[in-house]
Point group: D3
Chain length 294, copies 6
Amino acid sequence: MFTPENKAAILVEALPYIQEFYGKTIVIKYGGNAMINDDLKEKVMQDIALMKYVGIRPVIVHGGGPEITGFLKKVGKQSSFVAGLRVTDEETVEIAEMVLDGKVNSEIVNLLNRRGVRAVGLSGKDAGLIAARKKLATVYEGDESKQVDIGYVGEVDKVDTAIVEDLLDQGYVPVIAPIGVGSDGESYNINADYVAAELAGALEAEKLLLLTDIEGIYKDFNDKSTFISTLHLPEARQYIREGIIAGGMIPKVEACLKALEQGAGKTHIIDGRLDHSIILEIFTSQGIGTQVVR
Amino acid sequence: MFTPENKAAILVEALPYIQEFYGKTIVIKYGGNAMINDDLKEKVMQDIALMKYVGIRPVIVHGGGPEITGFLKKVGKQSSFVAGLRVTDEETVEIAEMVLDGKVNSEIVNLLNRRGVRAVGLSGKDAGLIAARKKLATVYEGDESKQVDIGYVGEVDKVDTAIVEDLLDQGYVPVIAPIGVGSDGESYNINADYVAAELAGALEAEKLLLLTDIEGIYKDFNDKSTFISTLHLPEARQYIREGIIAGGMIPKVEACLKALEQGAGKTHIIDGRLDHSIILEIFTSQGIGTQVVR
Amino acid sequence: MFTPENKAAILVEALPYIQEFYGKTIVIKYGGNAMINDDLKEKVMQDIALMKYVGIRPVIVHGGGPEITGFLKKVGKQSSFVAGLRVTDEETVEIAEMVLDGKVNSEIVNLLNRRGVRAVGLSGKDAGLIAARKKLATVYEGDESKQVDIGYVGEVDKVDTAIVEDLLDQGYVPVIAPIGVGSDGESYNINADYVAAELAGALEAEKLLLLTDIEGIYKDFNDKSTFISTLHLPEARQYIREGIIAGGMIPKVEACLKALEQGAGKTHIIDGRLDHSIILEIFTSQGIGTQVVR
Amino acid sequence: MFTPENKAAILVEALPYIQEFYGKTIVIKYGGNAMINDDLKEKVMQDIALMKYVGIRPVIVHGGGPEITGFLKKVGKQSSFVAGLRVTDEETVEIAEMVLDGKVNSEIVNLLNRRGVRAVGLSGKDAGLIAARKKLATVYEGDESKQVDIGYVGEVDKVDTAIVEDLLDQGYVPVIAPIGVGSDGESYNINADYVAAELAGALEAEKLLLLTDIEGIYKDFNDKSTFISTLHLPEARQYIREGIIAGGMIPKVEACLKALEQGAGKTHIIDGRLDHSIILEIFTSQGIGTQVVR
Amino acid sequence: MFTPENKAAILVEALPYIQEFYGKTIVIKYGGNAMINDDLKEKVMQDIALMKYVGIRPVIVHGGGPEITGFLKKVGKQSSFVAGLRVTDEETVEIAEMVLDGKVNSEIVNLLNRRGVRAVGLSGKDAGLIAARKKLATVYEGDESKQVDIGYVGEVDKVDTAIVEDLLDQGYVPVIAPIGVGSDGESYNINADYVAAELAGALEAEKLLLLTDIEGIYKDFNDKSTFISTLHLPEARQYIREGIIAGGMIPKVEACLKALEQGAGKTHIIDGRLDHSIILEIFTSQGIGTQVVR
Amino acid sequence: MFTPENKAAILVEALPYIQEFYGKTIVIKYGGNAMINDDLKEKVMQDIALMKYVGIRPVIVHGGGPEITGFLKKVGKQSSFVAGLRVTDEETVEIAEMVLDGKVNSEIVNLLNRRGVRAVGLSGKDAGLIAARKKLATVYEGDESKQVDIGYVGEVDKVDTAIVEDLLDQGYVPVIAPIGVGSDGESYNINADYVAAELAGALEAEKLLLLTDIEGIYKDFNDKSTFISTLHLPEARQYIREGIIAGGMIPKVEACLKALEQGAGKTHIIDGRLDHSIILEIFTSQGIGTQVVR
């Protein structure tokens, strides 16, 4: 289909991007369809391998909600939800950790290693990577809101990136499960977008890429012409306040803001349903999705 | 109870051992009662922390059979056994991996980190640490024996210790779950004694310590006076052939032999039911258990 | 013309080649049309930049015969030739050196630097890189042959690659003019193919690429169907003896043989008249030209 | 007397202290009874060896007054004293240096090396370690005081710790004789407490330990109940002004103050007459002696 | 002529200077008679070799005006001059670069290598060493002055000393031709004094030595008694304003000022017609020539 | 007396020697007149400083017999001699050590430091540098010979050069007193020539220089015309056997042989009574004294 000459030309076209990102750290939140569909999964692994081999330092943070749900069902455990967050008792968080760390994480690590990338799986427990604290759910009743304890759902208290940087410096690709440790040693399940954001900030990453199941952000979701390619920090904050950014988009955009505030260079909400969405974003002139920048 | 002077004297008594093992690698197979009893568990963690801080490079390999059995029961999965080995279908090995890597391993890592030791959990998948192949069970029918496929039970094909050595060199303590990867990327559950042995050999460890639930090896189990303190390699092989070493002791002794053949210095089968059995073995003149040596 | 998806797919297709050559040294003899045609020149520079950025260590050796001829004409100097070699008196070699080192080399260095590659120009004089000795021309008169002194035409006596390796280790791209130094400090003009070959051998380069103005080697130049994709060392020697390889192809193939004998991995005679011929050879499955291998 | 279990427990009890001081520099002023009594001497050497092997960087500064006195007597040299300081003519300082550097220092170095610690003896002359200036004695006559020149008694002018740090970094234990060099190259005998203090300050040592022949400091020396465990800097200064700290305690406490002012972490006046007083102070919860802190 | 004892005494006399300049960078502008006369040339090479071997880091910048003029004549190219600067069209700058880089530079490099010094030739193009911009000539017509474009005559815009420092750190001696690169990749011929000055400043060199064909600076050139040994920066500026320093001395003194302003330690205008003028200046108490200092 | 030009010429004359010995280790046995005469002493220090600053790695081993004798007299201790060796009881060796290590060594270290050379004094006790064993004296009675115990006179058993090499690598000059340690920790006084020889061998030094009080070796001491400039190993052995080399020359030549046999490059017996004898030997074409070579 492509002549060799075409191929060479396209490789050369990627050169400025390769030069730009050489030696830079890029954090990828891997989740959604790209983690379920086998063909997409394969392509994400290729993308990460390519990044690694052209000199980028990729850090992967993954989610795993559907797999957790599946496994809870298997052990006959019912989940209840408060304000969209799963009520997480001790048994639930134990299963979440097993699924995230012992299954999802292992599989990603394995896929990368099989492609010649030396990946190493981590959870927030390894070398004290993620210190966490309990996150309360906010429940609205009429005009009132109250904070509800829903168990072992956490938020990032502090990240200690030493192990991540040591592994990167020695050429490994860290793959991180979003489990944090509380001050009494207890485990917390944390939203992977936020974990990726905190890491991108602490590592002063060049970019944070959030793989999602949407094309990006629209001012009006029903009007495709309102697509936003670039969103600046103040604007983003305003859109959240005004409710233009709402629902499932809020944590994504908040993650971007948090990463930017803490030192990341640029952040991107991209459509993980596209083939090779990571490579498209990083190595071609076609910016895809919505970038949130300073 | 002890005067300060007594304490100082005892610390000084440990000095020759501290000097001897400074900078040396010691592989510990952690399992049995020492992993179940909370008090013993706490003491093993203290022992490892002490080893680390006096300049030893400890590497932990853990088992987890009882926890796997417990979890399989939870999901309503029946296990059948052939020749003492669990028949391990795809679902079983997946659960075994989740339990070993996502629960047992995480917990050990967490306990060590909480004691100021920077531990990092690994499975055989991380950076291609353990390549595995299927292990067949040997079934005897009368005088005949045959090899039976019992699924994803594996044996070590090759270890690539790069990640372990990189972590040790940077001051981390690697904690390793006995999961290996087959040539098609499939997971295998491997006996942790053998994994520890292969690692001790490949790392040319000074020592391999196997924590067990017995005092050591007896020529005649019913006659306490037949306790064997030191067993030499040829003797050990002969005792296995002659059936003097039998049953559950066979894999332990075989692990010792494998470690010695591949480069480990000394190997020890010690009683993990004793408080601080590791420290006793390494830092005092009271050799405990049975040592298997060249 | 290409969709973003196509582009991404092509980048990914290059991944195995990028992995294969990561950290490897590749010596390129740059000459012929690719050095004259501005468009081709531009593409060669892009190719080298790409190689560099995906982790390859490129070393460039260039010729410059036509430019020397042009400049000699300018100063009104007539050249005579013996056995295809230019008779090179002191004035001629001085001009050759000025053109090669002060013009051709500088221009290549400049083009690479302008593309973000830190190139450094060298001649064989720098840090004693190329020690040379006089090369006599062989003239046949009937059945007799005799050796004729044609002045400052040299052959490589010894290469000291320290400066090349130091520059590579620090991330520079060495660009080398084919001038050698004799034992009395005199300059010699040396065939660039041979210089590239000796360097490829001494550096134990993964590959030597000779950019030429032909497609590759044919058993019968008039019969396109006799094209040779792969030539093995003994075969190559035999074809030279039998006169199947003749004329201008002899030095090319001899250079390949010399490189292989001295430690280079593979050698390739490729068609520098094609766009991005270097990338095609290295990063795609379409082998182009003729490879000479062990 | 102690069961193995007791021993293990005591080793584990030391763990938090081992962790706390890992990689830290501790300066020890070695003198008094602990340097005379052979059994105590042996125990100090064990203590230093233990410190070294659990990762502490010990630096030893020793005195030697009694040995100097002994030797002066041997050569029939009478000493006179002014304000408690020995009048030190050229012959006296030469003998002092010989005794300190060529006898006392050598012996300590030798004892440590025989215990597997690689000790290296230094005096203030080595690599310009201690620059000194003359110290005048203050003599009181009625209400008047005057400064009297008593020869080659010095005080520290400047320390250049390069050689000490280079040796520590390479794993050696520096043992330092309290000899300084004046600006004309002349030798000065300096009080070892002050030398240790200046070194502890310049090295920003974690601790300075002064081994003395008393239990510590009392507000009233005749009332054991007035023992001071901890003395803060301002308090210490006040006690000296008020004469509560007097006599031989003044230089000890002044040394502590100097070390603290110049960057040492904590300072301890401990009873060198106790067995293993160093280990007791560093590795057990029984603080012994008096600590002077900020 | 000299007894061995005399020789030893003279070597020892140089010791304080050797100590003073150990590990320091000294930039030498090499030009004038010292570059033409074969005997002087030989002595300059010896001087540089000696500097290198006693631990100095020499950096050589050379001119080459006469050689350029000679070569332009050879190709039948007439030069016209405006305000003392050669009008430099494209052909002229090309020839200047060839002569400077491909002949003069190569020869110096070769001479040094033959004396056991590992020299490496650079031009401003190598690794982007010298970014240049066009320099206009100032022409006075009566009271008016105007700026005239005289082609590819440049001035230093920016130096990037990375390649120079990398080579120095690895023990090479960089030899630099005064060619700069414009923002469109075009070459500029730059006055070598200014190039040396900018490099001395950017490298924060200990010294800049300008080899000239005069003894130094006189207040009145006709009165030898007005020789200036030391000139301070403000004085130098004043003398230029007042016309006391005029003609060919202006660029020399301006180069010294520029070097001092940008970080060089001291600058020296010395008489390159003397044997071993560099050694005289650096290793003996006889300051020669005029030093320009802060 | 010398013109600047003369001085420069002489410096340049030294260049080939400076190049030859750059980075090489040279061991100097310092003793005899050169250690007593203040003017010679000063010149030896200058020579060592020069060596150091031109890139040589000097190691000094010193004697001190006359100073020991002087001090023994001072304490009223009579010495008796057997076969030319001092009978050395415990008190004697203690004093010898004090004098060598605490006086002679300190003084040399001090002199060097005052000349800007970072010298560090060592004795054989530091870091286990010299392990010694008792040396018996051979006494002849008629045709019979017997071995007599004369106390703490030792010979080198083994040298561990780690501390010497660590100091050299960090730019220090080690100055070594010829005291060794026996297997029970006792001190031995060892002939400094032999210590220097063993060190030169173990360090694979380029040269061993023995400073003596004679011009070199003569075949017939009474006939100046029989001076030997170069002595080869077999010849030297023969001359000793035949008694041509006799008396005080025997230990010198034996030291040379020992150094050569164990890896030193060349050895030189030179006349320390000459000014700057070290520089003369190393940096001029006038070989002085007798060289003993392979």
